[in-house]
Amino acid sequence: MKVQKIYIEKGLQEDTVIENFFKTFKHAKAFYIDDYRDVFEKVKKPYLKKRDSLNIFLAHKKGELVKLAPPAYGTPGTPHYYFVHAYNCIYECTYCYLQGHFQSPDLVFFLNYQEMILEMEKTLSEHSGDVWFHAGEFSDSLALSHLTGEWDYLWTFFQQNPRARLELRTKSVNIRSLLERAPLSNIVVSFSLSSEEAIKKHDLLTPKLSLRLQAMQKLQEHGFTLGLHFDPIIESVDFLQSYKKLLQQLSEGIDLTRVAYLSLGVVRFTKEVFHKVAEHYPDETFLASNLIKAPDQKVRYSRAKRQWILSHIQELAVSAGININKIYWCMEGESHN
């Protein structure tokens, strides 16, 4: 990753994490700015420029810090919220919605964790039961966490608030800081996985499957609860066979009966993202699949095909030892028909 510039909001010069970034990206130049929004998305930066050069913004998140997740986002029956600790990602997944979401692929890290945690506290107080908080809506939640250092704050908050549940969603294997803390039962580290072939084809720059499986094994052995996301599932000639193999590989390293949940979702895009994907990856095979525009305005496989894919993968997962009650279909509720 070539980081050329690091933009720092003027109020944050003293923040200790800034040093971490300059130690890691030794050749990056520092620019001090009033507000990250004066530069980030101020001019259009093409998504694929991330291959040549990335800039980093260290900023203070303004506006809503904790947001209600969309329907059918997580396990049913519990309110789901997400907090935004960063924008954009170091990986390059060809189906990623971030390529149509921001006008720049530059990385923004929000360092006001304490304010985010106060907001989570407030949200929690509005509910009597458990509340889920998800990290990683606009960025991988662990990929650069050794630099950003929010984990310590999160761990303390979730230790003190067992009703609050945290999902750290990742494709990375950056788990060292997690292993330095005792596991908490209300924290789930969830891994987005695809078959080995699909990772090679679509999840560019991400750690390979074997490394992710090793990281998962280490976390489970340490006592962490794991979550699984098979999302997005992309149909290919032998995809069922590939997922069967993936489940086999998973069961060799981790105890699938202890997995908190498995979410299944098929590839889907907003119209804007679909056009961006077509522009950036014109040879992607799923672009020429028989996709339709569903009533929720998303471009997806037809309902019948989605049902077929999801039920077959679900069958495979159950056969591999995952309790059917722990499997849910992501973004497949009534409103997504």
Partner: protein
């Protein structure tokens, strides 16, 4: 066969172009456009984004031969911001082109150098030029240091024309490359005198660029990369000649070709071609009918599931119409599990209708009774 292309060199000032003008036998086509023996062109655009874009557009609309691909090459000088660590005389390759309005306000639209173009210039790729972000400034000099402070947040070097040329090149669909020499460092003291000095010394800076161009551009036989690769059976593309295609059919046809290229291997495509020829040669059908049949045949091959449900839907429509006089509107997809049914009913048929509940019958009778009263 790959199409060859012509170079179109664009310079802001005659001074910058001098070494190029002297190095080859150029024939003046207009006061600022020249052509050499190899059908390469050289354009003096004038300084500033408006001047550059209007001159380039004018050359394309009035003077340059059409039906020819051009590689637009902008050559010139740039000032470097201190953070970029560039040396005076260094050759740089701009990657992103920004535009700064007066007072340093930035234009949202940017243009990027298409790095795949370097594949056509292997030696240029190996030259490992320093890649920079460039901002084209609307103003020749900035009185306010705040403007310079703003621009340097986005770019490493500044010039007066590249963004505008990149914009034109994109509109005209010709590839664009900009190669620059650093002439000075931008400071808050950057003023008119510095700009004039740089302009006067342009030739001496750009002399350094000439051997570079001589080596990387003129010594190689340049061919443009082919347009996005496709694996579509050429015979399929050719079939349109035998079909009657409306505008929307044509769009549909191209979409289908793209899908076929991604989904079907060569044997499968050849099989389709054989079947399509059978339809085309069948004298019983008119061209319009043939088009419909062919499009349906391809759709069926590509999405058999969809066609299976369309057939089921058509059977249902027929049953509802024949036995119950109910019209079923065919939805595009059956995504929300909703069907739209409609039927006509005469006042005298209400009582006997098996499709209406007693409550609805009462409401409808009341309605017709009231209608009578109004009359």
């Amino acid at each position: 066969m790959k199409p060859t292309m012509s170079f179109l060199f664009c310079f802001a000032h005659r001074g910058e172009a001098q070494i190029w003008l002297e190095s080859a036998k150029w024939q003046a086509l207009t006061t600022n456009l020249y052509q050499d023996d190899y059908k390469n062109y050289l354009l003096i655009t004038g300084e500033g984004p408006w001047e550059a874009s209007s001159e380039l557009f004018r050359a394309f609309t009035c003077d340059l031969p059409r039906d020819q691909r051009y590689l637009i090459i902008n050559i010139g000088l740039v000032g470097a911001f201190a953070h970029a660590d560039l040396e005076i005389g260094q050759i740089v390759l701009p990657q992103t082109f920004h535009l700064a309005y007066p007072k340093g306000e930035m234009e949202f639209q940017t243009f990027s150098f298409d790095s795949s173009l370097l594949k056509s210039f292997p030696s240029l790729m190996n030259a490992s030029l320093k890649k920079v972000d460039l901002v084209t400034s609307f103003e020749r000099h900035h009185q306010e240091s705040a403007a310079i402070e703003k621009m340097k947040l986005f770019a490493d070097v500044v010039d007066r024309e590249s963004w505008a040329l990149a914009q034109c090149a994109k509109s005209l669909q010709h590839p664009f490359i900009s190669i620059k020499v650093v002439s000075d460092q931008i400071t808050q003291m950057h003023n008119v005198r510095v700009c004039d000095f740089v302009k006067e010394k342009a030739e001496s800076f750009l002399i350094k660029l000439w051997p570079f161009f001589d080596q990387h551009f003129f010594q190689e036989t340049i061919t443009l990369p082919l347009m996005a690769s496709s694996h579509i059976n050429l015979e399929l593309e050719d079939l349109t000649k035998h079909l009657y295609l409306t505008h929307s059919h044509r769009q549909q046809w191209h979409e289908l070709l793209k899908k076929m290229a991604n989904h079907l291997n060569e044997n499968e495509q050849n099989k389709i071609v054989q079947n399509l020829h059978l339809i085309i040669n069948d004298q019983h059908f008119r061209p319009k009918e043939k088009t419909k049949m062919i499009i349906e045949l391809i759709q069926k091959t590509l999405d058999p599931e969809k066609w299976s449900w369309i057939l089921q839907l058509q059977a249902l429509q027929k049953t509802l119409q024949e036995h119950f006089h109910i019209h079923l509107s065919a939805p595009q997809q059956l995504e929300d599990l909703t069907l739209k049914l409609s039927f006509d009913i005469h006042r005298d048929q209400i009582t006997q209708s098996s499709l209406l509940s007693p409550e609805v019958k009462i409401i409808l009778h009341d309605f017709f009774d009231q209608l009578e009263t109004i009359r």
